[in-house]
Subunit: 244 residues, 3 copies
Amino acid sequence: MIDVIMNGEVLKTVAKAITALVSEARIHFLNQGMHSRAVDPANVAMVIVDVPRESFEVYNVDEEKVIGVDVDRIYDISKSIKGKDLVELLLSETELKIKFGSVEYSVSLIDPSAIRKEPRIPELELPVKVVMDAGEFKKAVTAADKISDHVIFRSDKTGFIVEAKGDVDKITFHMSESELIEFNGAEAKSMFSIEYLKEFCKIAGSGDLLTIRLGTNYPVRLLFELSGGKVKVEYILAPRVEAE
Amino acid sequence: MIDVIMNGEVLKTVAKAITALVSEARIHFLNQGMHSRAVDPANVAMVIVDVPRESFEVYNVDEEKVIGVDVDRIYDISKSIKGKDLVELLLSETELKIKFGSVEYSVSLIDPSAIRKEPRIPELELPVKVVMDAGEFKKAVTAADKISDHVIFRSDKTGFIVEAKGDVDKITFHMSESELIEFNGAEAKSMFSIEYLKEFCKIAGSGDLLTIRLGTNYPVRLLFELSGGKVKVEYILAPRVEAE
Amino acid sequence: MIDVIMNGEVLKTVAKAITALVSEARIHFLNQGMHSRAVDPANVAMVIVDVPRESFEVYNVDEEKVIGVDVDRIYDISKSIKGKDLVELLLSETELKIKFGSVEYSVSLIDPSAIRKEPRIPELELPVKVVMDAGEFKKAVTAADKISDHVIFRSDKTGFIVEAKGDVDKITFHMSESELIEFNGAEAKSMFSIEYLKEFCKIAGSGDLLTIRLGTNYPVRLLFELSGGKVKVEYILAPRVEAE
């Protein structure tokens, strides 16, 4: 039997994080918590979502199980739940019941074998480690989006830098070590598509913690700690080849 | 002479309630208050609006009178009045003056005989009586709207239930007697079009009182008490024939 | 060297005021402050913007200078600055740097000689002087916009009046001397295009001061004092010929 209760904010964050990349996904109910990961159809980005069992109000999972669900639908439903309200997920053979307040949704399950196989998480050696407020990162991406479709992440002794160039203008976002929560001072530089970064930022806001692992012409890892640390969402994004 | 003053919220509620079904309507200024009723062009729903004279700040009606107005226009105007601000309606032979703050609108009257005749209010024997918060009802309708275009209202010993079925999912909204303000425990079941219910709900919010009278394969009566009880709006909606 | 610091609200107001009429403009950094003026492509309206040096937090202008900028771009950037946050404008030979928080934009300059020559400010004898809250004026224009594309400004002994006529309705906005902040009681009447007035009103809100100078079949001058008096924006709008 699988019967778990969490607050609405947690469900919303999980669903939103996954819909950034795919519309159907496998959700694992493991002993240590809920887990999901998926790769977008273009194979450019991966999402890894973890909600530890301590983040649930109730976590009754007799036996580990994987289900397939329409995440777009669940995100849509989760939008009508208030953040602090509790929501219950109750699993039967063929249905997932989502209960909150006086409302009970029944959503059909998708055969997990019909959903694209889960990716292996790549092992990456990424020298730079930056920890910052996710809201600041979101500001940088939003600003860059106004003038370009790609952005350079750069790290050097002076701090962490986001740069974008338009036809006639340029934006530089610079955070020095003192403005960052943690910074190991390593050097690296890679270019990324803003389209993806914009999607990733949608789940985060001011007050959420973001850990960035950056290499040179290598994928970047963006680990967001959301909903007061209850949900961990990591995105891995492939670099764009620099034409410069 | 007809010269009445009410707060802006009352005028807005009246106009919004009627525009849900028709764009032109007759308004009666009676000794006991303002009254209007109309049927939508498809003959599926009726609206009955009553604003008792006690709900006005000033109610000078020398002689009972009926006028024809463009309700869409009045709703449009009423949106620019703040809820607590007073608004005056002043009637001349050919015009309705709507005055608030420093603004005075003059709206041409429509010959009432050019507007579709008012319906008779049907006598309906409806066994179920439910009184609930209109905001809860609105949530149920909004949720159901996401997955279907029709909805079943059902009442049994366990309480009042709203159900909708989509292709792959289902929603059940259940309120037990203890969650309802009043409930007579009678049984009935009818199906309705969500399109109409959505329109009706637009006038109401959390804190407004809703009385539902339900029968089996019979029209439903939805009586909303709005603007702190100053405005009574009743909708009568014909059932859809169940294809189940 | 030109290096000035102001609050974000001031920059936003300046850019918004100018974009109402043109997308590229000359900005003068004078000893007494920042100044700009421009005429719209149809030659119907002029905007004159002044930010006295006292309105800046820092105003380092060694030598008076005029630059050409893409005001749409600057307005776009300014929207991401919070009103109370400080923003720095730093001028180099070819670029204008706009710095706030951790963000630095570099915007290319436009050769001022490539931008339409600045208009001379016309000398107008306008008998009526009205001073009022800009928010009230905005309400009148917004209301009139619902029923017509032109509006009459009229002043007589009873006060200042804005009138618009639609096919079947009419709106009159009337402010008596006691409701106005200042009024000289002179008489005049002219008709104007609502399209322009709507654009002008976007910069102002309740609490901002508006001085109107009106003549008969003559341009009107609308002087807005914005951002707590830090920015002065004057629009001069040509009248429409009355077809009445």
